[in-house]
Amino acid sequence: MSVSLHPKPFDPWTLLADYQSRLPAGRFGANAVFVGTMRDFNEGDDVRAMTLEHYPGMTERHLEDIVAEARRRWPLEDCLIAHRVGAIEPGQPIVLTAAWSAHRQAAFEACRFLMEELKHRAPFWKRETLGDGETRWVARNTEG
């Protein structure tokens, strides 16, 4: 499975090592990876905790579509998307995107595409708990 949602903390490096061990060694040459981790600050405020809501069914389906689109656009050996859902603490990984290709340009571009598409279109919503205990929904993602 190239797409997975994780209600519990995941280790991106273990996930990558496991996933890659099933790919044919010697074929891919280039692997680009992005890991997004929860920061302890946002928009100038301390953030103590976060909850990630998603749309069960649509979220997985949409991530699969993004992977399929990347594979149409670039010559890729494989792609991987992993995303946390539920309660998250600062320092924990939120998202992992990865692309394997024979060539580094395809790997770099596809990995970034997976991440930008996910940010702009995949149904996830963040609610932050600030230092003073107040909660707020994140209104929009930063450009990137």
């Binding site: 997004g36 990630l52 809501e53 998603h54 749309y55 069914g57 649509m58 389906r61 949409h62 995303h83 939120i94 998202v95 991440m115 996910l118 940010k119 702009h120 279109r121 995949a122 149904p123 996830f124 919503w125 963040k126 609610r127 929904w137 994140v138 209104a139 929009r140 993602n141």
Partner: protein, 77 residues
């Protein structure tokens, strides 16, 4: 059969519910579903709409059995 209406995130909290069920109407659209399900509120401008878990516009037709979801801009990743 009927239409399932779903709300997520801040919208779900503001409405105080995550789901409605509507009888299917004639020649309905996603925006029409909103008007019937949330009659006391204008549909927000920046809202996102999905019909059967695919993004759609407000004027997209809705049929009996469809699942219509409304939610604010996404903030994952």
């Amino acid at each position: 059969m009927s239409i399932t209406v779903r709300y997520f995130a801040s919208l779900r909290e503001q409405l105080g519910r995550g789901e409605d069920r509507l009888e299917a109407g004639d020649a309905d659209t996603a925006a029409g579903v909103w008007a019937r399900a949330v009659p006391d509120r204008t549909m927000p401008e920046r809202i996102l709409i999905a019909i059967n878990q695919e993004y759609a516009d407000g004027d997209h037709p809705v049929r009996d059995g469809d699942e219509v979801a409304f939610f604010p801009p996404v903030t994952g990743g």
